[in-house]
Symmetry: C2
Amino acid sequence: MMRIKLTIAYDGRPFEGWQSQPSGRTVQDQMEAALERIAKKRISLHASGRTDTGVHALGQVAHFDAPANSSMDAAAWMRALNAHLPRTIRVMASEGVADDFHARFSVIKKTYRYEIDTSEVLRPLRAGLAWHHPQVIDRDLLRESLVLFQGEHDFAAFAANRGDGKDLETVRTIHEARLAEHGETLALTYTGNGFLYRMVRLLTGSAMRCATGGEPVRWIANLLEPAGTAHSSHCAPADGLTLVSVDY
Amino acid sequence: MMRIKLTIAYDGRPFEGWQSQPSGRTVQDQMEAALERIAKKRISLHASGRTDTGVHALGQVAHFDAPANSSMDAAAWMRALNAHLPRTIRVMASEGVADDFHARFSVIKKTYRYEIDTSEVLRPLRAGLAWHHPQVIDRDLLRESLVLFQGEHDFAAFAANRGDGKDLETVRTIHEARLAEHGETLALTYTGNGFLYRMVRLLTGSAMRCATGGEPVRWIANLLEPAGTAHSSHCAPADGLTLVSVDY
């Protein structure tokens, strides 16, 4: 058996997220269908984690176990997959890994980027790739909010209920949460040891709530207090979110 | 009567080009349908020129005459159009202009950009936005080819036959044709007083023919000689082309 690690990029717009659904219109469904066409049998693919409908990836990671009778190496699997996938999904890299590598359980850190487009009219080629927000945004308040997220915290206030009983342990460490500005784009980059369900969108939506005067920055500090039971309901739209990389 | 000038951006991927077609799936059709819904009557829109299926625009320009009984100013037309258009088409700017302004006949110069993506695997978010060309490209030969295009020439060798008898006059001036490189993208920018049918794609395809060793650069010089009757058949794909701006 050979375990193969894939680095995958996708345009989230045409898909109902990563995780397999009965509709079949997810990235996992497309990838497993391609694997089945190549291997002539069902092969399960394990990703670093889900991404929601409309969320993009530059460096999602997943692994699968190649059939014992296969003579294909990692590079051959990458070529074959790209020949069978729509061009909205591409395998960007592939490598053979040890049997104890697991795309989800071996994660050390992940990096997400959230893009906000501040132009008055959203250029068509940015549609679906950024949160269009032409209203005034206070950059200093945005930076102050992001700084509060850094470090180890209980992020329960910034997690959506997925309804599957996961994410009961809600302490995570964010190594870095920073703002960069390029032309009319604000890019918020988050690197951490893990993220709860919808956490990046809730952090972004909450920081933007402060940066647009809806709440004082103190409100975020309160939500991060260990004993708190309040939740933030300010979830930024999926459009602007990209899973940039997963480190092992 | 008020003549209104619109600056329009569009994602070329979902459309069969600018010019109205029986299918209705063109940018002009979408815009004229929006104008009709707003004005409750047919209004003709005149663009600076056509763009082909799959070609993008950041700054296409078109004009129309607002109905005499309309009280809407240019800004109101822009807002109303954007409310009725798909988000793959946006009016980026609008202004009232003199009655003798004509989006096609008043053009002084146009700028096009052609993007080539040299990465081994094309990132999904670049699909349809660049010519994917991972094979070796000689940048010096590409630049030498572009330099030859600059100045006033008879570009008949770099025009496709549109079959409508236009473009009989084939002398044009290219003020600038230059190469820039950003990461894995080569961007070729062309500014000129006018461009023949498919001319930018034929210039780009021909320059790439030289830059990949298919022809010596001398071949382009020969095609530009006044007495020549030869044609280039090397047309770059529509994906990489964007109409950047039109100056008046």
